[in-house]
């Protein structure tokens, strides 16, 4: 069953007097539980595509169905509610709330968006902190964490409200290679544990192979869909070599 289905999807931006085409008639289908990566150089449309899938932006034309919902028909409030219920986000710069501790950052969507009862909230946050390996940093603030730790918190936060889909825009761009590999591995592990679909964008050739399905974007067009699964694993030898070199 599809979690994301795009049909003739287009996105244009006004740039001065002209219209800039970011996405040109793209079609794709992502099944539930997939581990997918959109790859391509800067400006190829990866972020635009993820923004549309995440209901942060609306398509200019075409149809985009996310979790059986036509996202093009959602207004501002509906889109916010849909995101809160269905989608988790992981950002390149982690985007943790600086005034909240690790625990509170993960708790935020459950408390301020979903309004979960306290006992369930506590249980969920504790479980996620353990799952991503940051339970010992629970009371620390983002400024006291390393990049890798921050991204682990971001992954836990994205998974907090049990979303069907997690979108990660260049989640490893600000991390060293070893940490990047570990983060991708963690995302995969979370997919396996919670059954959540992960879609991430990257232009890093070393980690794109970790995805089971690769969508290669070029100038807003989908050039190729490439199945790497079941070989969609991180090269552990390469990882060890990286660790040694560091």
């Amino acid at each position: 069953m599809s979690i994301v289905r795009a049909t003739a999807l287009c996105k244009n931006y006004p740039a001065g007097d002209q219209m800039l085409t970011a996405i040109q008639s793209v079609d794709f289908d992502i099944p539930e539980g997939a581990f997918v990566s959109f790859v391509g150089p800067s400006g190829s449309g990866k972020s635009t595509l993820l923004n549309m899938i995440g209901c942060l932006d609306q398509p200019t034309s075409g149809e985009l169905i996310v979790a059986q919902t036509d996202t093009g028909r959602l207004n501002r409030e509906q889109a916010a509610q849909f995101r809160g219920e269905t989608i988790g986000f992981i950002f390149q710069d982690f985007n943790l709330i600086p005034v909240l501790s690790v625990y509170e950052n993960i708790e935020y969507p459950l408390l301020m968006v979903q309004n979960w009862p306290k006992p369930e909230r506590q249980e969920r946050v504790q479980a996620l902190m353990k799952a991503v390996g940051i339970h010992e940093q629970a009371n620390k603030y983002p400024s006291q964490l390393s990049g890798g730790q921050k991204q682990r918190v971001a992954i836990a936060r994205a998974l907090a409200s049990k979303p069907k889909l997690v979108l990660a825009d260049e989640p490893t761009a600000n991390l060293d290679h070893v940490t990047a590999y570990r983060i991708i591995e963690l995302m995969k592990q979370m997919r396996d544990e919670f059954g959540t679909t992960f879609i991430f964008s990257t232009h890093d050739s070393k980690i794109m192979n970790a995805a089971e399905t690769l969508f290669i974007l070029e100038d807003g067009k989908l050039r190729q869909e490439h199945q790497t699964s079941p070989a969609g694993k991180i090269d552990s030898n390469a990882l060890q070599q990286e660790e040694k070199s560091l």
């Binding site: 916010a80 995101r83 809160g84 005034v99 909240l100 969507p109 301020m112 968006v113």
Partner: protein, 416 residues
């Protein structure tokens, strides 16, 4: 609760800015409360002196008397019939508990002589018991030992200015000479019963004799008077009683079909009302300034907060935080700034006012000296200051908060 906690932490995140803004609001609240409490207590003290020791709260005259009050015309006195009608109405209001007392007065000008020199003097013929009920603070104006009775037949309460100028003291004999309505002159001997401290405004330098003496001096055969001074049970009911009197006495006409009475409150009779109005106006300006200070400072902080946290707002929105909650978050931050400013402002104002009262600062006003500054922090001023600050804080936060809640998540997340 979580919203409040996040708002507090966000404010603490920019400590210097938050402290400066809070200090500004605190100073604004202090300035307003210190001004209103000192100016307000001065105003109340002066009004109290004027109404409780001289004018009363309301006065009734024959129509046209007040406009020619400087010449104290005997031709404009109220005749016994008019006095009866007025007193009947006052009795009704007294039974309704709206009026505490009233005092008939016969006002006239006379020549004052100490047997060596003469001068002019304005006099009030009064019934001491009724005058005491209407102006209970009148005895407090008597300098030195207070006589047992306010004024007795054959005695006079002399204003300080005349007593000093004519070098007379309590117990001295003096002569009053008055011209009656027909133009004939009459003189009577009096003993100085007491010296009255002067007050600012008309009537503040009047002498007092017994009403019977006044009628005798003026050779009045009928029981006519110049005015009736009224003391209200509750001064705040002034407008209500004025309305009642105007609808009854004010509607009575003379033989020419013109209104027979005129009714005035103390504000129309004392020039101090202008000073009181000026104090009110200055208080209003101070309040407007306070609102402006809060508005500008909170708006500045909130605009900066939104500008600096655009990415953060984008993240909150991306996580599904409803726009209204983002609005609430920034509104809470603005209101918190106002709340903290008000809290410190109230606290420091209360301490300052306590210290001012302890210091017993004296001042002079007109001819009055040795007045003690006794500022009082009124609940209504505290509530007013709090409402102004909080309303201004909400208003100032509204636009930045609205902007934050309406930010497009994609644009916000792109912000560097």
């Amino acid at each position: 609760m979580k919203l409040l906690m996040i708002a507090m932490r966000n404010l603490w995140r920019y400590q210097r800015r938050t402290l400066l803004t809070t200090a500004l609001i605190t100073l604004g609240v202090m300035a307003m409360l210190l001004f209103t409490s000192t100016a307000g207590s001065f105003k109340q003290m002066m009004i109290g002196q004027i109404t409780d020791s001289m004018i009363g709260h309301i006065q009734i005259h024959k129509k046209g008397y007040v406009s020619s009050i400087d010449s104290l015309p005997l031709t404009m006195n109220m005749k016994p019939k008019m006095v009866e009608k007025a007193e009947a109405e006052l009795n009704t209001l007294n039974e309704q508990g709206k009026i505490e007392a009233w005092s008939p007065r016969l006002k006239f000008g006379a020549m004052f002589s100490n047997f060596n020199e003469t001068t002019n003097l304005r006099l009030n013929g009064i019934l001491p018991e009724k005058e005491l009920q209407t102006c209970p603070e009148l005895p407090s104006r008597i300098i030195g030992d207070k006589p047992e009775n306010l004024v007795e037949p054959g005695s006079i309460l002399l204003p300080e200015l005349i007593a000093k100028g004519m070098k007379v003291k309590v117990g001295d004999a003096i002569v009053l000479v008055a011209t009656n309505r027909d133009g004939s002159v009459n003189g009577m001997n009096f003993t100085v019963h007491g010296i009255l401290e002067g007050l600012s405004g008309p009537g503040g330098r009047d002498g007092y004799i017994h009403l019977e003496d006044a009628q005798a001096l003026l050779r009045l055969e009928s029981n006519e008077i110049s005015e009736i001074a009224i003391r209200l049970t509750a001064p705040q009911n002034e407008k209500l009683v004025m309305k009642a009197l105007k609808s009854t006495l004010g509607s009575l006409t003379n033989q020419q079909g013109k209104p027979a009475f005129e009714i005035h409150d103390w504000e129309k009779l004392s020039p101090f009302s202008n000073i009181a109005n000026m104090i009110d106006l200055m208080t209003l300006f101070i309040k407007i300034m306070l609102a402006a200070i809060v508005l500008i400072s909170v708006m500045n902080v909130m605009i900066m907060a939104v500008y600096e946290r655009i990415r953060e707002i984008g993240t909150l929105a991306a996580m599904g935080t409803p726009p209204n909650r983002i609005l609430q978050l920034f509104l809470t931050e603005g209101v918190l700034l106002g709340l903290v400013g008000v809290a410190f402002g109230l606290m420091l104002s209360a301490i300052s006012i306590y210290l001012l009262n302890q210091a017993q600062i004296s001042f002079s006003f007109g001819r009055q000296t040795g007045l003690i500054l006794e500022p009082v922090l009124l609940w209504k001023d505290v509530i007013f200051a709090s409402v102004i600050v909080l309303s201004a804080a909400v208003l100032a936060s509204l636009q930045p908060a609205w902007k934050a809640s309406r930010l497009n998540p994609v644009d916000a997340l792109r912000q560097v």
